[in-house]
């Protein structure tokens, strides 16, 4: 292969070498338990405090509102289940969207089994939630609205402020899964009326296995993981000090570089979209053209199937994804692409390319060239394309 091009940064990112460097001392030197009293434990505790402060500052939050978890999935589970438990007396109705990550959707399904009722709001053809429908869905027994900040597949950014205001007006808690948005977009929890927010370090060049849930002071949700008195008694388990330190460093890097980095990514992304749309026929851009994550491009190539495309791209050294990485191995096409109205066979032929800070124009050119050839080849093998051509000839 000529090149290695990693365009799957929405699935996971490379741990930044400076992040890894910040983590290293906490494995075999400063390995003390952060809850202990002796000096190397206290050093761990201080490192955690610094990381928590750094992260809080990126959101306009208070340090004591940041609770570390094992990742975005745990944060999502916690937010939903603990709210259900704590506010179940007030009501048992939850509102979310049809295009949430499975960490939200499957948790909702679990809550439905436990007697809660969940309304799944539709999105338009660009993946933007239908606000009017959301408004109408609000009931006296609605206790929580959970809508993701930006979608992991098609990159569409949701009208979070409007949803936050709506929730606030009705005295309903508002949670947002910001796993994809954190570090890519400026977020202020107060201005946007966010009560809870989930995030995951490995999406922003931090380590895997660490995330956080922001919980606004006063929100009375309980623990999801019970045990020791860590995280102000709300999240038990020995603190994962190296990972927490890594997350702090990654957040610092992501936010200090945000403007410049995302501007560069946006430019390259638009160049990528432009070339793909122009040079590959029967191609559709999925997601909102403007309100999308700076690093996300998502295409559907008619008549071909995604997995074949991915394997062939891999053989050219290109890492990409089709639908969501978590569901690969599954036979169903992405629920997000179906929700924006794509027919099944087109939903099956989608390609997600998500850029990173180090993606170059040469990378993009290489990917476009290779994709072009592969799509052509797969179409030449496709019975759907054959049928389509024949239909055209007949006209």
């Amino acid at each position: 292969m000529d090149r290695f091009v990693y365009l799957d940064n929405a699935a996971t990112t490379k741990t930044s070498p400076t992040v890894l460097e910040a983590m290293l001392p906490y494995f075999s030197e400063l390995y003390g338990n952060a809850s202990s009293i002796y000096s190397i434990g206290v050093e761990s505790k201080e490192a955690i405090t610094q990381s928590r402060e750094m992260i809080a500052s990126t959101l306009g939050a208070k340090p004591e509102e940041i609770y570390f978890t094992a990742g975005g999935t745990e944060a999502d589970n916690w937010a939903l289940k603990a709210t259900a438990e704590a506010y179940g007396g007030k009501g048992k109705h939850i509102i979310t969207s049809k295009i949430e990550h499975h960490a939200i959707l499957h948790t909702c399904a679990n809550l439905e089994k436990c007697g809660y009722e969940v309304t799944y709001i539709d999105v338009d053809e660009n993946g933007v939630i239908k606000l009017e429908e959301l408004k109408k869905a609000i009931r006296p027994d609605t206790i929580l609205i959970s809508v993701m900040f930006a979608n992991n597949e098609i990159g569409t950014i949701q009208p979070i402020r409007a949803i936050g205001e709506l929730a606030a007006q009705h005295g309903i808690l508002f949670h947002t899964d910001a796993v994809q948005a954190y570090g890519q977009l400026p977020i202020n929890v107060d201005e946007l009326h966010i009560d809870m927010l989930s995030s995951s370090a490995h999406k922003v060049n931090g380590p895997k296995g660490i995330g956080f849930l922001y919980i606004r002071k006063g929100v009375k949700i309980r623990s999801f993981i019970h045990g020791g008195a860590q995280e102000r008694k709300r999240r038990a388990g020995t603190e994962n000090v190296p990972a927490i330190v890594g997350y702090g460093q990654a957040a610092k890097e992501a936010f200090s570089s945000m403007q410049e980095r995302t501007a560069g990514e946006r430019e390259l992304r638009d160049y990528l979209i432009d070339r793909m749309e122009k040079e590959i026929p029967f191609t559709r851009l999925n997601g909102d053209r403007k309100n999308r994550l700076p690093n996300n491009a998502n295409f559907s190539f008619q008549f071909i199937e995604g997995e074949s495309l991915l394997i062939m791209l891999d053989m050219e050294g290109i890492c990409a994804s089709s639908g969501s990485a978590c569901t690969s191995g599954s036979l169903d096409p992405s629920h997000v692409l179906l929700a924006i109205g794509l027919p099944h066979e087109i939903a099956h032929g989608s390609l997600r390319l998500t850029l990173g800070a180090d993606t170059t124009k040469e990378d993009i050119d290489y990917v476009v060239e290779k994709t072009k050839g592969i799509v052509e080849r797969l179409r030449s093998m496709s019975p759907l394309y054959e049928d389509f051509l024949k239909k055209c000839q007949k006209r």
């Binding site: 199937e305 394997i311 066979e345 093998m381 496709s382 019975p383 759907l384 054959e386």
Partner: protein
């Protein structure tokens, strides 16, 4: 995830294409499930499959099983071709991941569908051949669920 044989047949699929005025054509699967296979047969007067081509919309395993299935039936008699089961295709490919077993069933079914088409066109009945289902996903083995 895939064996070397699968990867070989995916990267260099044998017998891709169409056969003009084929003796029989069979299409199975559906776009909803993400795989469609079409098999063309050129059958001579002695009921020998002289040529066989395929087109497939689907994953790596779908392409590889189509390719292998065409290889296995080429040069065979109709009765021999009927013996080419999904197991035979899988074995020839050194196995498939559990979630991909249905692709081999689809390949078996595609051949049966092409043979059925041939039989219909020629007004004959092929012994042991049942009308193929166009969609085999009902038979699919589900992974253990909790």
């Amino acid at each position: 995830m895939y064996s070397e044989k699968v990867m070989d047949h995916f990267q260099n699929p044998r017998n891709v294409g169409e056969i003009e005025n084929a003796s029989g054509v069979g299409t199975v699967g559906n776009a909803k499930c993400g795989d469609i296979m079409r098999i063309y047969l050129d059958i001579d007067e002695n009921d020998i499959i002289r040529d066989c081509k395929f087109k497939t919309f689907g994953c790596g395993a779908a392409v590889a099983t189509s390719s292998m299935a065409t290889e296995l039936v080429k040069g065979k008699s109709i009765q021999e071709a009927l013996q080419v089961t999904n197991k035979a295709v899988m074995e020839a490919l050194d196995g498939l991941p559990p979630v991909k077993v249905h692709c081999s069933l689809l390949a078996e079914e595609a051949i049966h569908a092409a043979l059925w088409d041939y039989a219909e066109k020629h007004g004959i009945k092929i012994e042991g051949l049942e009308k193929p289902k166009s969609d085999i996903h009902e038979d699919e083995e589900e992974e253990e669920e909790y």
